[in-house]
């Protein structure tokens, strides 16, 4: 040590007074560092001179601590610090200990000199000395010296002062961390500490238990009860008020306990059972709006999702997550996203609920929030997740946001985190995730400068060797390898990889290997093929392959056989009967002969050149390059739905293959332009964009479609708007043509929708088509042509229209609800039966109403009832008719209240007197309290004639009596849809006679009084409300003879009830 001092001192004179402004305190070199300060020199001198005088030594030591913190070399003073701790008085000792704990580390040789002092101080009677010794022990202590102090510290567990006991426990925790074997025998002492009468000691012991349970949770299950009891007491406020922090009892203790419980209850139903109550209690108690209660809530939620699930608690926890995510406080939002990431695996629906927030957070100015959001998006599901989510994520990443720098950071973070993930060998990741990883790594690897490309290549290479990786994923990985290889001069791994895969049995991989090999030979070409970060630039593709003309001509000139299309060749071969019959092996033929075609199909680019198969090997070589060129684009990795516009472009290339897909797209694209205007005004452009992102990002979460009706269509629109290409109109025309084609080829459904709209000259679809393109008038004509055979339907339609006219003022007008119009003949009939036909008052007569039915009758009195469906209520009109010739007195009509329905205002009604042969009527408004498909409303009527007579009756009310259509725009629907939580899904088989979607929709619309919000293709959205104002939204679509219904509503029972009605309607209509 002294030589260090000497060296430093000898170096000082020449350097004193010199200031090097550039040298930071943490600078590298020794001499430069010391020279930075002359005062340090004087400090050194005073310390060395003062070795015998402790008084000043303490002050010097404090300064030395400061210097050390600033980064100056201070090792010369270490020995003095130890001396100070050994020999000084109490105050100096404290500084000495402090200096030692700051200067030295566990393995420092000088530390051994301290052991004796520590032992001495532990035995001291002075509390302060013992405290200091324990503090330093828990900070640094040489492992091999533990036995020397362990018995002393064990003794301290019985000390009368709680502060000593607590510090002793902490010291033992430290020992447990650095040498668990040496404290094995005192585990029962930990238990004693856990049961200590002082809560502080108990809290300290929790550190140990948390650590031990983390390592081996099964060994401590028996303690669950104790932890639960402790938490219960803490939560219940049994601790003294000293432990309160912002009037929350011992929050840190609670957090610790919740963590322990989470670890204990993981995957263990029996243990979890014990904690449900206390968790519920904690959730309930944590209500005060302070940071620390949120900390407890956060732990609670995490614990609830960690332990064996209990639906009731999960529900409450989900609500809590909402509190976090929607909080304006940014810290809470961050934590909300964090817990969402954790929770989403178990309950993807939660992501659906918070998708708007998630999207907003992706745009958040705080990069940390952005990152966390990214994680949330990622962790959504494994392979079960809809392919759109990774696709959309990659699009977000590739297109970036407004800020170039932030994009850069985000991408870099993505690459870094993926590389870190790949670091862990033998970890199974979902295939989709691996694909996302390889794309991101391949595309943006160069952003990470501290990792050699070679290292990344090795990782990818290792991944390729794994058995769990599917061949599709391997194609993605190979694409990434190719991209990385294009930016490195020469790589051993790439060579190795080419060698290895050239003989691979997987043709696809072999193909890649060959491509890579050829490309590696021509780096310049490779670079131009695979430009950096060009994933978003548009690529012009020469679909006619005109650049090959010269080559073909040359080939032909050399006597090569002219190119024959695949089917022609096959036919020829078949006719020759020499070739193998490929018929039964159609698939394997494709993959073995046309490796390039298959590669294209499986490669992330999603491009397919299957039609270019050629037997000519030379030509294949060229085709390969061709495929690769396209691959350089990298933006077409999405197979379905992603970047519809771009896909359309490719569609043009290989029209034969993608016709079905394209027409589908066209079907979706065709409509939105018309939708746009009526959505427009109310919502700002930005919000709309976000909403679209939200819905696209989460399409398919939970179920296959859902939001896609709005989402996909809108995305398509968005694309058009954003890019605003010159050829937009042209493309639209093409799509319209496609639409026409698809309509022509598949006119079943069209016939059902179009005629109605054509008939109604203002029909929306009609105008829409007009808007789509000028040439769509042809379609209308076509449709008109189709219409003629459908005269039957037309007549039905006429009826409906006339019905509309009858009650135009009503809400029902647009939804064509069957309205009962009492037929004259029926009236005659009833007239013949009884002289007293109650009829509705005039003002009610015009409203839709039911038949007047007789509920009960005695010889003196009859009770009739009629339901009137007004827009905002259900009215029960009761008619009491006096059938006798004398007046009836004191007629009392009483409705009983049931749990389901309730009469508003008073449920009793009194007619003091009803004249002979007359009818009295009254009306009552009914409200449904609890949703049920059928409710019985019992009641009684009593009257006084000669004697008191009592008649019982009951009214049957159906759920449908309370359902009204709800008018809204598609946009409102979208908003509302996302905000509703209760959903019910069901597939209903459609019978043959109602196979067309519009027919089914009509049936639902009429019978169930639903408002038809929008219909696109084979998807439709409908809305209704349960009086007074409980909305219920229905999204339905058809696929392969099934009608998929998806209800959402704030009420839990309403969707079920409606679903039941729907099923009934569908059954009825199929019986007809």
């Amino acid at each position: 040590m002294s030589d260090v001092v000497e060296r430093t001192l000898s170096a000082l004179p020449g350097l004193l007074g010199q200031h090097e402004p550039g040298a930071g305190p943490g600078g590298a070199g020794g001499p430069g560092r010391v020279s930075a300060s002359s005062r340090l020199g004087s400090l050194i001198r005073s310390i060395t001179a003062l070795t015998s005088k402790h008084r000043l030594m303490k002050e010097c030591m404090v300064r030395l601590i400061y210097c050390e913190m600033l980064g100056y070399e201070s090792s010369f003073g270490y020995i003095h610090a130890i001396k100070l701790a050994q020999q000084g008085n109490l105050l100096e000792k404290r500084v000495g200990y402090l200096a030692v704990s700051l200067f030295l580390h566990e393995n420092h040789e000088l530390l051994l000199l301290l052991v004796n002092t520590v032992v001495k101080d532990l035995q001291s009677t002075n509390l302060v000395e013992v405290c200091m010794a324990l503090t330093v022990v828990s900070q640094i202590f040489p492992r091999e010296m533990i036995p020397a102090v362990l018995p002393l510290i064990e003794d301290k567990l019985q000390h009368s002062k709680e502060i000593i006991r607590r510090k002793a426990v902490q010291a033992l925790y430290k020992f447990y961390l650095i040498a668990p074997n040496q404290v094995q025998h005192i585990h029962d002492k930990f238990r004693k500490a856990l049961c200590d009468r002082d809560a502080g000691v108990m809290a300290a012991s929790l550190h140990i238990y948390l650590q031990m349970i983390k390592e081996n949770s099964s060994g401590y299950k028996d303690l669950t009860g104790s932890f639960v009891t402790i938490l219960k007491q803490v939560v219940g406020g049994k601790l003294s008020a000293d432990f309160n922090y912002h009037s929350v009892p011992a929050p840190w203790l609670q957090i610790q306990l919740l963590r322990i419980l989470g670890l204990l209850g993981k995957d263990d139903p029996r243990t979890s059972e014990l904690m449900y109550d206390v968790l519920d209690e904690s959730l309930r108690r944590a209500e005060i709006n302070h940071n620390i209660t949120y900390a407890i809530l956060f732990e609670c939620v995490q614990t609830i999702y960690t332990i064996y699930p209990k639906s009731e608690l999960l529900e409450k926890a989900a609500k809590c997550i909402g509190k976090f995510v929607l909080s304006p406080k940014i810290n809470l939002k961050y934590l909300g996203l964090k817990v969402l990431t954790y929770v989403i695996q178990q309950d993807p629906n939660l992501a659906l609920q918070h998708q708007m927030t998630i999207i907003e957070c992706l745009d958040h100015p705080d990069p940390i929030i952005k990152r966390e959001t990214m994680n949330a998006v990622f962790s959504v599901g494994g392979d079960v997740v809809h392919s759109d989510i990774p696709n959309n994520f990659l699009r977000l990443l590739a297109e970036g946001f407004d800020d170039e720098k932030e994009d850069h950071q985000l991408r870099m973070y993505a690459v870094q985190s993926y590389l870190a993930l790949l670091e862990e060998e033998d970890k199974l990741y979902p295939q989709k995730f691996l694909q996302v990883m390889s794309w991101v790594v391949g595309e943006y690897f160069s952003l990470v400068t501290d990792v050699e490309p070679e290292v990344i290549l090795t990782k990818l290479h290792n991944l390729l060797k794994k058995t769990f990786v599917t061949s599709e994923t391997k194609a993605w990985i190979m694409a990434a390898v190719t991209k990385i290889a294009s930016h490195t001069s020469c790589s051993k791994t790439v060579d190795e990889l080419i060698q290895e895969l050239s003989s691979s049995l997987d043709t696809c991989l072999r193909q890649y290997a060959f491509e890579l090999k050829h490309l590696c030979e021509d780096k310049a070409l490779m670079k131009s093929l695979l430009p950096f970060d060009a994933s978003c630039s548009d690529l012009v593709v020469d679909a006619s392959l005109s650049f090959l003309d010269g080559f073909v001509a040359e080939g032909l000139g050399h006597g090569a056989a002219p190119y024959k299309p695949h089917h022609q060749r096959q036919e020829e071969k078949l006719s020759q009967e020499k070739a193998l019959n490929f018929e039964p092996y159609g698939l394997s033929f494709a993959s073995s002969v046309s490796s390039s075609g298959v590669t294209g199909r499986q490669s992330p680019t999603g491009l397919s050149f299957g039609s270019d198969i050629s037997g000519n090997s030379a030509e294949t070589g060229h085709k390969e390059t061709n495929t690769l060129k396209l691959e350089g684009v990298r933006k077409l990795w999405g197979k379905e739905g992603y970047l519809p516009k771009k896909e359309n472009k490719i569609g043009k290339e290989n029209e034969q293959q993608t016709v079905p897909c394209e027409s589908l797209l066209a079907g979706q694209v065709g409509e939105p332009p018309a939708l746009q205007p009526d959505q427009g005004a109310s919502l700002s452009e930005e919000d709309k964009e976000k909403q679209q992102l939200a819905s696209t990002l989460f399409i398919g979460l939970g179920s296959s479609a859902g939001v896609s009706l709005m989402g996909k269509a809108d995305t398509a629109t968005q694309k058009f708007k954003r890019k605003s290409k010159i050829n937009e109109t042209q493309q639209l025309n093409e799509e319209a043509l496609d639409f026409q084609n698809s309509a022509a080829s598949d006119f079943g459904p069209l016939l059902d929708t179009v005629p109605i709209n054509v008939e109604d000259s203002e029909g929306s679809i009609h105008t829409r088509l007009r808007k789509v393109s000028p040439c769509s008038s042809d379609i209308v004509e076509d449709n008109l042509a189709f219409e003629t055979p459908q005269s039957l339907r037309k007549s039905v339609l006429d009826d409906r229209i006339s019905a509309n006219r009858l009650s135009q003022s009503s809400l029902f007008a647009d939804s064509n609800i069957e309205i009962f119009q009492p037929s004259p003949s029926a009236q005659c009939e009833s007239a013949s039966e009884t002289a007293l036909v109650p009829s509705l008052p005039e003002e009610l007569e015009e409203l839709p109403h039911s038949e007047v039915v007789r509920l009960c009758q005695s010889d003196a009195l009859a009770l009739y009832l009629c339901k009137v469906w007004t827009d905002d209520s259900l009215l029960l009109i009761a008619f009491v008719s006096n059938e006798t010739t004398s007046a009836l007195h004191a007629v009392n009509l009483v409705f009983e209240e049931t749990e389901h329905v309730q009469i508003l205002e008073s449920a009793t009604l009194q007619f003091p007197v009803i004249e002979a042969q007359s009818v009295e009527h009254c009306q009552k408004c009914v409200k449904m309290n609890k949703v049920c498909t059928k409710a019985i409303l019992p009641g009684s009527v009593s009257y006084q004639s000669e004697m008191e007579t009592h008649l019982e009756f009951s009214v049957t009310l159906s759920l449908m009596d309370f359902i009204r259509p709800m008018e809204m725009t598609t946009e409102d629907f979208g908003k509302l849809w996302l905000s509703l939580s209760n959903d019910v899904k069901q597939n209903i088989k459609m019978s043959s006679c109602q196979d067309s979607f519009p027919a089914a929709l009509d049936a639902l619309q009429q019978k169930l009084k639903l408002h038809r919000v929008d219909v696109i293709g084979n998807e439709g959205i409908l809305a209704c409300q349960l009086l007074p104002s409980v909305p219920c939204l229905l999204h339905c679509r058809t696929h392969s003879g099934m009608l998929a219904l998806w209800f959402r509503s704030p009420s839990a029972a309403l969707p079920d009830g409606l679903l039941y009605q729907c099923q009934k309607v569908m059954e009825e209509s199929s019986e007809q």
Binding site: H19, E20, P21, A23, G24, P25, G26, A28, A36, S37, R39, L40, L56, K58, E59, V62, R63, I65, Y66, E68, M69, L70, L90, L91, R94, L98, L102, E106, V128, T135, S138, I163, R166, Q170, Y173, K174, A204, H207, D242, F243, Y245, P251, I255, R259, N291, I292, Y294, A295, F298, E299, I330, N331, K333, Y334, P365, D366, I368, I369, S417, A420
Partner: protein, 193 residues
């Protein structure tokens, strides 16, 4: 576990550093600088949590910080600590400092490094939270301070100087306090880059 507690001012000058995990001295300095760079470029209205800090432990590591006037209080913790819990712990720490130093300012941390460390030692021991009750901490510190009073002498001078400086209404002084200008024996140090 808490891995490190760092306090530095708006210019990145460390005012207190305490590491509960072993890092070499050079790494410690780098960690301080890295943390400062991470923390200082964040706006006031973003969240108080940061992930990263590659030197201190990578992805498992979290930085939880609060910014008070001229000082940043940063706790580097691993994933086993509750973010909001630590955030409130910083609050408790600062409030305790405020109580012990009576209107604490940056200079208190410079001139009483040992005291600040002692306060911290009562709160956090070996990287684990020991005590969160401010009154309890203050009681412990007071008990220790009684010892100090019996030992008058050298410690008295700087204390008087500090109180004199304090009366100058320090918070109004521009953030960049050049210690060398105040004639107290403190090393005059190069600017931190």
């Amino acid at each position: 576990m808490i891995k490190a507690i760092l306090i530095f001012n708006n210019h990145g000058k460390p005012r207190l550093s305490k590491f509960y995990q072993r890092y070499s001295e050079d790494t410690q300095q780098q960690i301080i600088r890295e943390t400062f760079h991470l923390v200082s470029k964040r706006d006031e209205n973003v969240c108080n949590f940061l992930e990263g800090g590659l030197l201190i432990g990578g992805s498992d590591n979290k930085l939880i910080y609060r910014h008070y006037a001229t000082l940043y209080f940063v706790f580097c913790v691993d994933s086993s600590e509750s973010e909001l819990g630590i955030l409130d712990l910083i609050q408790v720490f600062v409030e305790t400092l405020d109580k012990c130093f009576e209107n604490v300012c940056e200079l208190d941390l410079i001139f009483h490094v040992d005291k600040v460390h002692n306060i911290l030692a009562e709160m956090v021991m070996g990287g684990m939270v020991l005590e969160t009750n401010m009154n309890e901490i203050v009681t412990q510190i007071d008990a220790q301070n009684k010892l100090e009073k019996s030992e008058a002498g050298l410690a008295g001078a700087p204390a008087r100087a500090v109180s004199a400086v304090k009366n100058m209404n320090l918070p109004e002084i521009p953030r960049n306090i050049n210690i060398g200008d105040i004639s107290i024996k403190v090393p005059n140090l190069p600017t931190f880059k």
